[in-house]
């Protein structure tokens, strides 16, 4: 892979110039939080953030979006697609892996028109990170990333080591070649190696994933699910903040003229009580335990069986955002029997 070097002081000019020709999305500080948002001149870009509140998915599968406008006798018309190139700067490796998981869902089989358009008009610039006590990407094999980005920036202090992952990424580098250097010398290489090994020593949270899908299958009937679910508020925050939760529901809204309206979709969660409710009031997952189990099963077993990788990328958002403080890694570890059940929740 082509690699170049961007001196730290050149980052802002680099992004500033990109923002002139593209819609630039960056991690922004707002209060105590960091959120992905559109860049504005002078906004505070968070270069050393741990995790954003919401993952990047909202720029590809918005929380809510209009699919069609309809009018009686005229059928359904799509809203004008958004146009123009976007550059999404600052995704950590876990979030890039998550986008690749979403690609499986939305671009394989039937192609989701809306997702595809947004994905195609967006360049991805990754950014290296250091873990906090909730990160476990190293357990999920998502702590490093070798594709799925156009550029990837590794923060080495004085400079960023920039991996070029695509021709579009290369074009960006060439356009701003006055800001980068093609020389990756011994010292930088050493810094990079030190960064990698220091970083991998910093992880606190771990998840043993060996045979996890099989263990989950065997623990399907475990009373443990209902026990953990006693704390669960079924609020769905884990799903909303998860970079790979993609469930949505579709609904219509009528305009006042009663002959036209909109068909939209919005995020939903398998934790919601009516998620698996069908006609006649039959609910396939009536208990909170069954729904919590569904979420974890889908992440670590079902998706794994479908795609050969887990849907969990170890970003730690579900735990960070759970109002009941459920530690999903510990739930899974308890099922494995490594620690006593009382240590959970």
């Amino acid at each position: 892979m082509k690699t170049v070097v961007l001196p730290r002081e050149n980052l802002e000019p680099f992004l500033g110039r990109i923002a002139r020709g593209h819609d630039l999305i960056v991690p922004k500080k707002t209060g105590n939080d960091v959120v992905f948002d559109y860049y504005q001149e002078g906004c505070q870009i968070a270069l050393e953030y741990r995790r954003t509140l919401l993952p990047p998915k909202k720029f590809f599968l918005p929380p809510e979006e209009v699919l069609f406008r309809y009018k009686k006798g005229q059928g359904f018309t799509e809203p004008e697609p958004e146009v123009g190139r976007r550059v999404f700067f600052g995704l950590h490796p876990c979030d890039i892996h998550a986008l690749k998981r979403l690609d499986y869902v939305f671009l394989e089989g039937y192609v989701d028109t809306y997702y595809r358009r947004r994905r195609e008009r967006t360049l991805i610039i990754g950014l290296s990170c250091l873990p906090d006590d909730k990160c476990f990407c190293h357990s999920m094999g998502t702590d490093l990333v070798s594709d799925g980005f156009d550029l990837f920036f590794t923060d080495l202090g004085e400079v960023y080591l920039v991996e070029v992952g695509s021709t579009s990424g290369n074009d960006l580098v060439l356009t701003h070649r006055d800001l980068v250097s093609e020389v990756v010398d011994e010292a930088i290489l050493k810094e990079y190696k030190t960064f990698i090994s220091t970083r991998s020593d910093l992880f606190v949270q771990t998840l043993d994933t060996s045979g996890l899908s099989k263990i989950l299958t065997l623990e399907w009937e475990s009373p443990f699910w209902e026990k953990v679910a006693q704390d669960c508020l079924a609020c769905g925050r884990c799903s909303m903040s998860c970079p790979t939760c993609y469930c949505f529901s579709i609904y219509d809204q009528v305009n006042l003229d009663s002959i036209s309206g909109e068909r939209s979709r919005s995020w939903t969660s398998c934790l919601y009580k009516d998620y698996a409710l069908v006609a006649g009031g039959h609910n396939f997952r009536p208990s909170r335990g069954a729904r919590l189990r569904q979420r974890l099963m889908h992440k670590h077993k079902d998706f794994f069986e479908q795609q050969g990788v887990s849907a969990c990328v170890g970003c730690g958002r579900c735990q960070a955002n759970c109002p009941a403080g459920i530690d999903f890694c510990q739930v899974l570890t308890s099922l494995r029997g490594d620690i006593s059940e009382s240590a959970v929740g």
């Binding site: 009686k72 059928g75 089989g109 039937y110 949505f248 579709i250 006609a279 039959h282 889908h298």
Partner: protein, 282 residues
């Protein structure tokens, strides 16, 4: 399978269809005969018994509904729609010549090719007749391809029975064995049996190469499949059409997931063997 839309087009876009005729089958269930507005789409639309469509009532939403007609009788599409909630009620408020939106056909459907040359046992309960009626008509129109054909159908009461007149006619068909039952009811008006659909198992003998097609309410699958297994039908030859909440119908929204399968794409027809492997399926 000819889809209404090429894969490159927006798969969420319904195409327009006109209601040609409406007929009440029960107090809650109405037969919708519809025709696609675009003549080419109407001509090309092909499907397999057991597949379903997403039907839009403009302004209310979409509901997955099995195709009740048979691809052997092209032109009109038939759907039996039971009024249970918002979308189905909105559909029931429509009149002939009104429009609905249609997407599909979706799902796998019954494996009619595999069923050829075998004895076919169809078990249905209530509105579950809707998808298997398509299969029954398909078999009738290709009668020489199949061995014996038996339909066991149960409804709560006489007025809950779908296609009563059609079934009474078919009952006299020499090449079909149709057993009808009501959960309860006035036996003077009812020349057939009373009791749950599973009670009909006692009356039939099952040939060694029998395949079963089942569509019953969710709670009844356990009992029906047990009955079929007891009759010696292999788990791989029991095909069940299952219901789940569905939004997209195309494997995206996640709502219909059963283990690693999507009911809308991998189903709605699953074998008993699938059910054993996928917890909570039946």
């Amino acid at each position: 399978m000819s889809q209404l839309l090429a894969k490159t087009e927006n798969p969420y876009r319904p195409v327009r269809a006109k209601i040609v005729d409406l007929r009440d089958l029960t107090p809650e269930t109405r037969l919708f005969q519809v025709k696609l507005v675009d003549p080419k789409a109407a001509r090309d639309f092909d499907y397999r018994p057991g597949q379903f469509c997403q039907i839009s009532a403009l302004g209310t939403g979409e509901a997955p509904i099995s195709i009740s007609s048979s691809p052997t009788r092209p032109g009109l599409l038939e759907f039996c729609i039971r009024r249970v909630g918002r979308t189905t009620s909105a559909l029931h408020r429509l009149n002939p010549n009104d429009e609905v939106g249609i997407r599909g056909p979706y799902g796998n459907g019954f494996p009619v090719d595999y069923m050829e040359g075998k004895d076919v046992l169809i078990v249905a309960g209530g509105v579950g007749l809707a998808p298997v009626r398509s299969l029954l008509l398909y078999i009738l129109d290709n009668r020489d391809q199949f061995r014996s054909v038996t339909l066991l159908y149960g409804a709560r009461s006489l007025e809950d029975m779908l296609f009563r007149e059609e079934l009474k006619t078919l009952e006299r068909h020499p090449d079909l064995n149709i057993l009808l039952t009501l959960d309860s009811g006035d036996t003077r008006l009812w020349p057939f049996r009373t009791g749950l659909v599973t009670s009909l198992f006692e009356e039939i003998t099952v040939a060694p190469k029998t395949v079963a097609a089942v569509c019953v309410p969710p709670v009844a699958y356990k009992f029906v499949t047990k009955g079929l297994l007891d009759k010696g039908i292999s788990g791989e030859d029991i095909f069940m059409s299952l219901e789940r909440k569905m939004h997209c119908g195309i494997g995206k929204c996640g709502c219909c997931a059963v283990g690693s399968k999507y009911c809308c794409q991998d189903g709605p027809v699953f074998t008993y063997w699938d059910a054993l492997n996928l917890p909570d399926m039946i």
